[in-house]
Amino acid sequence: MNSLDPRVNRLPAVGVPGQAEPKAPMDQFGTFEVFVQPRDGKPFQHEGVVHAPNLELAFVLAKEAFTRRFLCVSIFVADTRHVHVSPMTEGNDSVLNYIRDVSLQRSTKETYEIFQLPKRGKQHLQAGQVEAAGPEEAMAEAKKILPADKVIYNLWVIRTNDIRYTRPEEKELWLTLPEKKFRDASDYKGGDKLKEFLERAHS
C-alpha cells in the first residue's frame, strides 16, 4: 500500500487486495449478556453483550467493554442461550399476570438469578435469587419475591451455575478506576490558558 502512514505501509501483504473471503457463520462467536454492579449493595444491571468464544473470555472482554470508567465493583456474564425470557408486556399490564404457577416434582433444586424490567426502554435489574427445579418454576418462584403492586414488564431467569461471577480476589480490577483521570473530561481544563490568550489578544 502507498500510504502517508508508515504503520500502514509496514502491514504484511495478506490474501488478495480488495478481495475478502466471506465470513463463515460463528466466525464472530456467540453472545454473552453482561451485568454490572456500580456499588456494593446496588443491584446488578444489564449493560449489553459481548461476542466471545467462551464464558471466561466473555468475562475479560466485558470488563474492557463496559467498565473502563464510572463506578464498578463487580460484573457477571452469562451465555445468551442460558437466559430464559418471559413475554414482554406494556402499559399497566404486568408480566406477572402471565406467569403460570408451576411446581415441578423433581427433588433436585438449583439456584436461579432473577432479573426484572421495571420500565420499558430501560435495562433489566437483578431482583434476587430463588430455588427451583427448572426455569419455568424459577419464574413462578420469582413471582413470590417480586412486589405485586409494581408493574413489571419482563422477566429473565438464569441458572446460577451458568453465570460467571466476579471472584473476591478479582474485585481489585476496579480499584484503580477512580485514578484513571485521563479518561475523564474533567482532566482536560484549558480554560485558564484560553483566558490568558484572549486577554493578550484583546490588549
Binding site: 500500500m1 500510504s3 502517508l4 502512514d5 504503520r7 500502514v8 502491514l11 504484511p12 495478506v14 490474501g15 487486495p17 480488495g18 475478502a20 473471503e21 466471506p22 465470513k23 463463515a24 457463520p25 460463528m26 466466525d27 464472530q28 462467536f29 456467540g30 453472545t31 449478556e33 444489564h46 449493560e47 449489553g48 453483550v49 461476542h51 468464544p53 467462551n54 473470555l57 474492557e64 467493554a65 473502563r68 470508567r69 445468551t80 442461550r81 437466559v83 414482554m88 406494556e90 420499558r120 426502554g121 435495562q123 433489566h124 429473565w156 484513571k180 485521563f182 479518561r183 475523564d184 473530561a185 474533567s186 482536560y188 484549558g190 490558558k193 484560553l194 490568558e196 490568550f197 489578544a201
Partner: protein
C-alpha cells in the same frame, strides 16, 4: 461517535401497504406516546431495514474513524497525549462493539455486517476517507469531528429503538471526554508557537469541506423521510444538524483567532441561521462512492486485520457453540 450524514435508501413507502394495519397503528401509537420499541416487539419491515442500515453505518464509522487517529498514538506529543489518545481510540472501537450488537438485535449478523463493510457494500462516515497529515489533523478530528458526531448522536439518542438509544446514552457519556480532550489539544496549538498555530490553521483549511459534508446533503422532504421522522428513526434534518454545529463551534474557532476558509460564512441576523457556500456535493458523491484519497486504504487495513485474526478465531472456536440473537 462518528455517525454523521446518514444516507437513507430510497425504499418505496408502498411496502407499508403490506403491513398489518392494526399492528402498524399500535406501533405508531407506542412511538407517539414516547415509548421505546424493543427487539421482541412487532415492527414494520421498513423500520427494521432502515434502522439496521443506520446503526450499521454508525458502527462502521466508529471502526474506520479509529484508523486516522489511531496511527497518531505513537507520534502524539508526550506521554499524556499518548495516554489520552489511546483511551479515546479504545472508546471508539468499544462504541463500534455496542452498535454492532444493537444492529444485531434487528436480525443482521455481525459476520454479515463485517462482510458488507470490507466488500464496500456498506457505507461509513465519508469524512474518514480523508488523510490525517499532521498532529493538528488528529486534533481537528478529536475536537470538531467528534463535536459534529455528538450533535448527531444526541438527536438520535431520543429516537424510538430501545437498544440503539441505550447504546447512544453510553456513547454520549464517553464522548464528553473526547470533546474536552480535543478542545484542550487545539487550545495548546492555538496558544503555542506561530508554527503550531499555522499547523492547526492548515488542518482547518483541509478539513473544513469534509466537515460541511459531514451532515449530508439537504434532505429532500419526501413521504419517505416523513415516515422515518414520524417513527423517530431520523430525528433532525441534515441542515438543522449542520446549523446547530455551526452555532456551537464557529464562535469557538474564531475565538482562537483562526480563519474558516469560507468567505460567505456568517450568521444571518434575519433568519438566525448560518449562511455558507454550498458544499460541493459532486465531490461528496464521488468520494462516498469509493474515489476518495483514503477509501481503498481504510478497507484494506480492515481486511488485513480480519485476515490476520482469522487463525486466532479458528483456534478459539467452540465446536458446540450456536448462535442466538442478543436480548436487548
Amino acid at each position: 461517535m462518528y455517525g454523521g450524514g446518514n444516507t437513507f435508501e430510497g425504499i418505496k413507502t408502498d411496502s407499508l401497504a403490506q403491513e398489518d394495519p392494526v399492528k402498524l397503528a399500535e406501533f405508531e401509537a407506542r412511538i407517539a406516546r414516547g415509548e421505546k420499541i424493543e427487539p421482541s416487539d412487532w415492527m414494520p419491515q421498513l423500520y427494521r431495514k432502515q434502522l439496521i442500515r443506520m446503526i450499521e453505518q454508525h458502527a462502521h464509522s466508529e471502526i474506520i474513524g479509529a484508523l486516522p487517529e489511531g496511527t497518531w498514538i505513537t507520534r502524539a506529543p508526550g506521554f499524556k497525549r499518548k495516554l489520552a489518545l489511546m483511551a479515546k481510540v479504545q472508546d471508539e472501537v468499544g462504541h463500534a462493539q455496542l452498535l454492532y450488537s444493537a444492529a444485531e438485535t434487528l436480525g443482521k449478523s455481525r459476520e454479515q455486517m463485517i462482510n458488507d463493510l470490507i466488500n464496500g457494500k456498506s457505507k461509513y462516515s465519508n469524512i474518514f476517507n480523508y488523510p490525517a497529515f499532521t498532529w493538528a489533523d488528529s486534533c481537528f478530528i478529536s475536537w470538531l469531528v467528534d463535536a459534529g458526531a455528538i450533535v448527531n448522536q444526541l438527536a438520535n439518542a431520543k429516537g424510538s429503538y430501545g437498544p440503539y438509544c441505550r447504546a447512544l446514552d453510553r456513547i454520549c457519556a464517553e464522548e464528553s471526554f473526547h470533546l474536552k480532550y480535543g478542545h484542550h489539544c487545539v487550545i495548546y496549538l492555538a496558544t503555542g508557537t506561530p508554527k503550531q498555530r499555522a499547523m492547526f490553521q492548515e488542518a482547518l483549511n483541509r478539513w473544513w469541506a469534509p466537515m460541511m459534508h459531514f451532515f449530508g446533503p439537504s434532505d429532500k422532504i419526501s413521504a419517505h423521510t416523513e415516515v422515518l421522522m414520524k417513527w423517530k428513526v431520523k430525528m433532525a434534518s441534515n441542515d438543522d444538524m449542520r446549523n446547530q454545529f455551526l452555532d456551537m463551534y464557529v464562535p469557538k474557532i474564531w475565538e482562537l483567532g483562526f480563519t474558516i476558509p469560507d468567505p460567505k460564512l456568517r450568521k444571518n441576523p434575519e433568519t438566525g441561521r448560518w449562511d455558507y457556500t454550498e458544499p460541493d456535493w459532486e465531490e461528496f458523491k464521488r468520494v462516498i462512492n469509493g474515489d476518495g484519497p483514503c477509501n481503498k486504504e481504510r478497507l484494506e487495513v480492515r481486511r488485513i486485520a480480519e485476515e490476520r485474526g482469522h487463525w486466532v478465531r479458528e483456534a478459539l472456536k467452540a465446536p458446540k457453540a450456536s448462535y442466538v440473537m442478543p436480548l436487548a
